[in-house]
């Protein structure tokens, strides 16, 4: 029984022009203590997938299908009340851009205390102590609990978010681009902190990013998303060393690797498809250099390339 299992998750956004197929047939699996990286270009549906897990979607979103279970318990039909209990206690989320993710007019400490009081039913005093403890854990001076978000730098704010996320010892932490917009150095610091906490607390973690290297350095397994679909999943090393999907291959090739040769790769021609009106068949086929007959007609099915390494490409079926 996996910690988290997602099957066929499909979420659309309703617009006047039609439906944005932001996330289709997404299958994910997360084991206890494992880190899963979800990579993809912008607008590939990463955030949508993550928010669908805890039903924090915008008003115009519709979850069309999908089964989500935590430790075997199906939560896809949970009501708002139950979801509220699940949120944070079982699945916590660290959002992109902590500046906006923290309430600007409330003290940072209070915002953590709030979570503790809701879920752990802790009395005020105890919650405060625990907050100070958490601050120490994320390497911030505990005296700063009474400050406001604007008094913190970007990296510090992200640490506060992390402290808040782990406050209730959740089983799963979802990090939605937690390090984007941070300096490399600070990014490295934050990632290291996350890594440390994950080990200490044995949490499952889903790390959403468009930066391949972040996944490479911190995740056990990776899922690559393209235009609302997962095109390839597998253990990080396997996928990076031996990418099976042409998109993944191109992506990895485009990554500047200082350990390799100074070489400017070819970029992928064209643009990601419009999700309001995605192409039939494989969503990548318009930009793919190796198309064959069925690519533009049929959706490819996932094929196991090696153990735990799956990819959805018609070419693979051929092999």
């Amino acid at each position: 029984m996996s910690l988290l299992e997602v099957e066929n998750l499909t979420t659309y956004y309703k617009l006047k022009e039609g439906y944005v197929r932001a996330c289709e047939n997404v299958n994910l699996k997360l084991e206890k203590g494992e880190a899963l990286g979800l990579v993809g270009e912008s607008a590939s549906g990463k955030t949508t997938a993550a928010l669908s897990l805890v039903k924090l979607l915008p008003d115009n979103a519709e979850v069309r299908a999908g089964k989500i279970s935590i430790e075997g318990r199906d939560i896809s039909r949970a009501m708002e009340d139950e979801l509220r209990r699940i949120r944070w206690k079982e699945i916590a989320i660290i959002f992109q851009g902590a500046m906006n993710a923290l309430n600007p007019v409330r003290r940072v400490g209070d915002q953590i205390v709030e979570a503790l009081r809701i879920h752990e039913k802790m009395p005020e005093k105890e919650a405060c102590l625990r907050t100070a403890e958490l601050f120490e854990q994320v390497e911030i001076d505990p005296d700063r609990v009474r400050e406001y978000p604007h008094e913190f730098s970007g990296g510090m704010r992200q640490r506060v978010m992390i402290a808040m996320a782990v406050a209730c010892n959740p089983k799963i932490v979802i990090g939605d681009e937690p390090t984007t917009a941070l300096d490399v150095m600070v990014q490295a610091q934050v990632l290291q902190l996350l890594e440390k906490l994950r080990r200490e607390l044995q949490m499952g973690m889903i790390l959403i990013t468009h930066d391949l290297s972040v996944v490479g350095e911190t995740c056990d397994r990776v899922a690559v998303m393209y235009a609302g679909r997962i095109v390839e999943t597998g253990p990080t090393e396997k996928v990076f060393e031996n990418p099976a999907h042409p998109y993944t291959r191109a992506l990895i090739a485009a990554f500047p690797n200082i350990e390799g040769k100074r070489y400017l790769a070819q970029s992928i021609p064209g643009n990601p498809p419009n999700l309001l009106n995605p192409p039939a068949g494989c969503r990548f086929h318009e930009r793919c250099s190796q198309i064959i007959g069925p690519c533009s007609e049929k959706d490819p099915t996932a094929v196991e390339v090696s153990t735990g390494h799956m990819a959805s490409c018609h070419l693979l079926g051929r092999l």
């Binding site: 290291q192 391949l212 485009a254 970029s267």
Partner: protein
Amino acid sequence: MDINNRGDEQLELLKVSNLEVHFAARQGFLSSLLNKQPKQVRAVDGLDFSIRKGEILCLAGESGSGKTTTGKAILRLVEPTGGEVCFKGEDVIAFNRQRLRRFRQEAQIIFQDPYESLNPRQTVFSTVAEPLEVNRICKNNEQIEERVIEALTDAGLSNPQELFLRYPHELSGGQRQRLAIAGALVVKPDFIMADEPVSMLDLSIRAGILKLMVDLRDQKGISYLFITHDLSLAWLVSDRIAIMYLGKIVELGSADTVIRQPLHPYTRALVSVIPVLKRVMPSDKKLLQGETPDPVNIPTGCRFHPRCPEAQSRCREEEPLYREVMPGHYGACHFI
């Protein structure tokens, strides 16, 4: 494509010496009355470097280290408070209005965010044609059109006429950045300052833009000041890299040497955290504590000493000299 060190040693296009840009810290009228000495943001605090003809010099460093300010000061988009900028042997700071106008055609600029750097209410055509119109470069409309088409084609946009009447929001990210480049190319500049030109673009599109820039250098001999905080990118495209910390260059050298054999402890730390596509032992990362301090209160002595893992007492008191450590490789640290 392999990229080798480029640039004619003899032909120094741009030379910057001891450049300083200090801003008066934002202050109310009253507090400026009360505090005799207004606080200063020392955004750029004494830079020396030069760019050769046909060279890409990369300015790298953390956020707030003064990269953008340096670039703008060179183009006189902010007024330097000290130092010299020589362009083709002429003192840019001393340019009068007319000469400055001409200079503005010789030196161009490309920004980070292709969404923000294009006027959303200007069509593709008028975006590119604007520099020509402003400077009255062309005699007639036909000539303008010719030049516009040429620039758009050079920037890798095929079928430029079809794009003429589009607005930026009707273009994709890559197209947009190409449009911005076309807007710079149209006046046939010798020098382009590119401020993080690809950091907002997806990985899959980035390479194309970078390649375009390099190609233009090769074909037209355009020199670049390439600003980025991404060292792997810097390494990839540039001939030489300068690493900035708090308004000063701490190290400057050819791209390969700076990345492969960094001298300065700061550079070493930066290089150690460059992302690679594999798991790295945490111990291999030389993580620095904290973030770049505020340029209002620059530490005494070596400005890096509070975060330096190798700091000694000397660093606290004495500011290290910026000197040529090895041929073509400059650094500012007491211990290199």
